[in-house]
């Protein structure tokens, strides 16, 4: 257990020291959300209607753009190789790094979401659902994204390819997340949507690190 926590601690330590990544993700989140009133018009009723979808799409894109720092830097300076040799199973290493990624990307997005929801005039009934779906859904974004990040490790400028691979896989998370908030806003039962989202994330926890580890192993050979 201690080596596992040490991997998470290392990534967090580096994120704090190097700074910037979390801040950039938050700024991107804010900027993207800002584009919508500018593009569609500031009419409050329309913004309220599209708010859940816009928030989730923007969060999803912000999470995706931060994926390349999950493995790339460590791959390039030999740290990923050394992590493989540490005695921890590669799946555990991937899971640890994914947890650290969520703590430095997903969690801040989750905390910023209600503020941005206010900007989009989202109905107050939706806030609880927004926080809950982001809490459950953003880990899934990190987990699924890890697979894409691992597959594109050896590809130069693999960022766009990463988007192509990962965005279709994000669609179920998007759909369940937004429909839960929509249901809450309209006074309907949000539980089925939340349960489906939870099922997705729970299934992703064992499966995604395993697939990502297989892809990392390929890149290191």
């Amino acid at each position: 257990m201690k080596p596992f926590m040490a991997v998470i601690a290392r990534d967090l330590h580096l994120a704090v020291r190097q700074g910037g990544a979390t801040f950039l993700a938050l700024v991107f989140f804010l900027l993207t959300v800002t584009l919508f009133p500018l593009g569609i018009g500031p009419e409050p009723a329309i913004l309220a209607r599209i708010a859940p979808g816009v928030l989730w799409v923007a969060a999803l894109l912000a999470a995706m753009l931060s994926l390349d720092r999950l493995f790339q830097a460590d791959f390039e300076d030999g740290s990923l190789e050394q992590l493989t040799l540490s005695g921890l199973p590669l799946g555990a290493i991937v899971l640890a790094k994914t947890i650290a990624h969520w703590l430095t990307t997903g969690l801040p997005l989750l905390l910023a979401a209600p503020i941005l929801a206010v900007l989009l005039n989202m109905d107050s009934e939706g806030f609880a659902a927004l926080l809950l779906t982001m809490l459950i859904g953003t880990p899934a974004l990190s987990l699924i994204g890890a697979i894409g990040a691992a597959l594109t490790l050896t590809v130069r400028r693999g960022g766009v390819l990463l988007s192509l691979l990962v965005l279709p896989l994000y669609i179920p998370v998007l759909i369940f997340g937004v429909s839960a908030i929509d249901a809450a806003v309209h006074g309907l039962n949000a539980k089925p949507h939340v349960l489906l989202l939870t099922a997705l994330t729970l299934a992703a926890i064992p499966l995604c690190p395993w697939a990502a580890a297989a892809a990392v192993k390929l890149s290191l050979e």
């Binding site: 080596p3 040490a6 300076d77 190789e81 040799l85 540490s86 005695g87």
Partner: protein, 202 residues
């Protein structure tokens, strides 16, 4: 005892070598010699289970390494071409991170830094260090946490003569404690009583 029998290696779609045999007993050092492309790095990576063997067996005290590769990795240190040193962390933090991830206690970090003469840089962020100092930081890992087998791929790159001397001393101490070394180097490491494995390109 670490042994390899009939090892064959393929990279891409080419066979780099085949039918390779070696044996390292506790306290011994095996030096790999050969021209570029003869597979020295590949053999070291195979020994570290980073690269899959195309044929043959690796055994540790008679037990096939492939049965539990994770356990095998805890027995070795691998120093490759890259240093795995993070610029944002200090020298001490760099070494400490790796010892913690390997599950070792941190009480040998001080002596590791002394062994490679970087104690005065302990609290300097690695981004301000030279390539040679980076290398010393990477090599300090060898001493900071214990491992029976040291796999070194051109360890003296970017080291000056003092740094090379530190490495020689570290290897000597390791061998005296019954540790094993497999190293690819064309520099005379000044080690006595080494076995040489000559690799020839196919």
């Amino acid at each position: 005892m670490f042994e390899g029998r009939d090892i064959a290696c393929e990279r891409g779609e080419r066979r780099i070598f085949s039918g390779l045999n070696f044996r390292i007993s506790p306290g011994q050092a095996l030096v790999l010699r050969g021209p570029n492309g003869s597979g020295k790095t590949s053999l070291l990576r195979i020994a570290a289970t980073l690269l899959r063997i195309a044929a043959g067996r690796l055994t540790w005290n008679g037990v096939d390494v492939a049965e539990d590769p994770e356990k095998h990795r805890t027995r070795l240190h691998f120093i490759g071409h890259q240093d795995a040193v993070k610029g944002a962390l200090t020298v001490r933090e760099n070494i400490a991170t790796w010892t913690r991830i390997r599950g070792s206690s941190g009480d040998r970090i001080g002596s590791a830094m002394m062994a490679f003469d970087i104690s005065h840089l302990a609290d300097t962020p690695a981004q301000y260090l030279s390539a040679g100092q980076h290398r010393r930081t990477a090599l300090a890992r060898l001493v900071a946490s214990p491992a029976a087998l040291w796999l070194l791929d051109e360890p003296t790159v970017s080291l000056d003569s003092d740094g090379t001397a530190c490495l020689q001393q570290a290897i000597m101490d390791h061998r005296a404690a019954k540790g094993m070394v497999m190293a690819a180097t064309h520099i005379e490491l000044g080690l006595d009583d080494v076995n040489i494995l000559q690799l020839t390109p196919q």
